[in-house]
Amino acid sequence: MDKFGFAQSQKFDTYASRLMPREEYFTSGHRSCQGCGEALAVRWVCKAIGKDAIIAHATGCMEIVSSGMPQTAWLNPWIHVAFENTAAVASGVEAGLKILTRKGKLTGPMPKVVAMGGDGGTSDIGLQALSGAMERGHNFTYFCWDNEAYMNTGIQRSSSTPYGAMTTTSPPGKMSIGQATQKKNMMAIAVAHGIPYVATASPSYLFDLYFKVRKAIETPGPAYVHVLSVCPTGWRSATELSVRLGRLAVETGVFPLYEVVDGRYRLTVEVPKLRPVRDYLKPQGRFRHLRSKEIDFIQRHTLAQYELLLQKCQALYPEFPSVSPSAEEEGQ
């Protein structure tokens, strides 16, 4: 195993990469930065959702790099309205498709409805619209592209920025360690809505991501997929390390890959022995100012979070009745 954990990646060979779709729906020619983990994630998510899907996208990096009038990188029908409302727009798309199908104005299977937004558009400004859409139970899948700050506006901190990270609005200084708060747990928030499918994913684990996306969009009701998107520009990391950093995030336990199906947690990529978080932090300039004691704090915090996740995965879950009495009858 080399310094960046290539040995872990060997298990990719067990998947049949030749069976993956060759079609592209997020096409080349967009203007994302070199080494953008987010663009890679979008490309593969779009492959997984396929042609018959309508995408609502929040303002942010992926919107800006892909939709400069009169060009577009999107081969799916795609709509951008504003920053904080993409889950609401998707709610409307889903409701519109439903009524037009019911009235016979649209025929054939209903297209999948997908919403996408960055971590700012999801965990900060778009949280209310997302919460509303999940609570109402629209049949849609929400993707959060989490590059852990407002990269599009110039690397300002968000509630998804991890502890200790340097951003332009959480700069380290005499009185500051950088980001002073812990990353908001969007997964727990999504799970708390009682929705049927929630997952973390990473473009560094394409097959894991691919199958989660398939599951998410095939699940009736709301699904939430949180994708860690390495950002060399904002993380101050080498562009060629993006995929590797995504793996290190998983191998150190900083960003575990798991899914929550009907409230039940399950690790999808098991890491028998976690690497020290230092391996993940060191290649990133945004953590360069951290001293041993802060790194040690991050290490302990990461292990505690990971242990909590393992406990959730091992928990015994009671049986809940179906969503409604009528749905239960239909099921019988």
Binding site: I64, A88, G92
Partner: protein, 392 residues
């Protein structure tokens, strides 16, 4: 017999018009005094009397955002709001019109906080006058019903494709029971055929909606929007005429009341018009040559109609129901002055702000304003405009 005359709360009449229009998708959030409209629509949907998707969103910002999503699929879309709700939508109002979604929205006009007030004035819509929507004002329950139904036909016209707001005064119009004539469903269906969107989100024919514009294109896009809104004027009149021929109820961008031979003209919007009519009747009976203009079409602004409406009048008194704090003039006065600046420089235009935050405006108020304005017209205005009836 095409229509039936009934006594009905105006909010219910508006919902009924939405039902007759066979609206397919509704997203709304509760806010006084718009609530009765969406409550009634909810029950129509719940009882299967209106085949539509009703989405109870978690805010007005999401209400309009959801309406955009609905409209983008090609569904006939309606929402209603008021005051703080309209303000919370503000950002999305501009985008809905720029993206050309023919959404119909009823606005039960109410004061904007602060201080918090649930009562009627026009400060909510005047803060949203530049949003690029078609905007009309109605005066009574019949007009609220008629214009809600007509709004769909105007908005969806392929030469228009713009969202439209029907403004109706909160409480003093929305919550009163009025006698009005309804249309039957067959007539409504003949008047308003099903909506077929030209562009919609469709995997068989994918389009990108809401792309951003660099400086090379932004101005051109805004110009196209401006032209669409200005050019909607002819289509609006065409729909109004068609409706007039059908029902006998004809509407004009600027309505006239006893303007023949008038030397002094009052100008109002919304349901103050009917109160002003009473005052005009009394002043006419006393031998004063006073008439009334009622501005129905607010966007696009009916410049020509307004200029032609002056006749031989020497004094125009504009009654605003909103303020432009610290500005040159309250919103309607500013636009009216601009309308006549070059066209009729001799016309004296005086402004009075009345009825803020639910302050009652009885006929006497108009009589006092006319008397005061005539004195001012002779002596020269003492200030740019007056906030009428301030106590203390």
């Amino acid at each position: 017999m095409m229509g039936t005359r009934v006594g009905m709360e105006v909010s219910i009449a508006v919902s009924h018009a939405v039902q007759l229009a066979r609206a397919e998708a509704i997203a709304a959030y509760p806010i006084t005094p718009q609530t009765h409209i969406v409550e009634h629509l909810s029950s129509l949907v719940a009882n299967g009397e209106l085949e539509a998707e009703f989405v109870n969103v978690e805010s007005e910002h999401s209400a309009l955002s959801t309406c955009i999503g609905m409209s983008a699929t090609g569904a006939r879309t309606f929402t209603a709001t008021s005051s703080q709700g309209l303000a919370l939508m503000h950002e999305i109002l501009f985008i809905a019109s720029a993206m050309r979604f023919p959404i119909v929205m009823a606005v039960a006009n109410r004061a904007l906080a602060g201080p918090l007030s649930i009562w009627n004035d026009h400060s909510d819509i005047m803060a949203a006058r530049d949003i690029g929507w078609i905007q009309v004002f109605v005066e009574n329950g019949q007009e609220a019903f008629d214009h809600t139904l007509m709004a769909f036909k105007i908005a969806e016209n392929h030469k228009v494709i713009l969202p439209i707001i029907v403004n109706m005064d909160g409480f003093i119009l929305t919550h009163v029971v009025e006698s009005l004539e309804l249309l039957d469903q067959d007539t409504a269906d003949r008047f308003l055929p099903p909506y077929h969107a030209r562009h919609r989100l469709d995997p068989q024919n994918p389009v990108t909606m809401g792309a951003f514009a660099m400086p090379e294109l932004f101005t051109e896009v805004k110009m196209a929007h401006q032209m669409a809104l200005v050019n909607s004027y002819d289509r609006i009149l065409k729909v109004w005429k068609e409706f007039g021929d059908l029902t006998g109820r004809h509407y004009q961008p600027v309505e006239h009341y006893k303007t023949e031979g008038a030397k002094v003209l009052l100008l109002t919007m919304g349901c103050l018009g009917e109160v002003a009519e009473v005052a005009v009747d009394e002043m006419r009976a006393a031998g004063e040559k006073v008439g009334l203009l009622k501005l129905r079409m607010w966007r696009p602004f009916p410049f020509t109609d307004l200029r032609e409406a002056m006749g031989g009048a020497k004094l125009l008194i504009v009654c605003d129901r909103a303020l432009s704090l610290g500005g040159a003039a309250p919103p309607v006065l500013a636009e009216v002055r601009s309308t006549f600046y070059a066209a009729n420089p001799k016309l004296q235009i005086l402004g009075y702000v009345v009825g803020l935050g639910g302050r009652d405006v009885p006929p006497e108020t108009f009589k006092e304003i006319v008397a005061q304005a005539q004195t001012e017209a002779k002596q020269g205005p003492s200030q740019e405009y007056h906030i009428f009836g301030v106590r203390g």
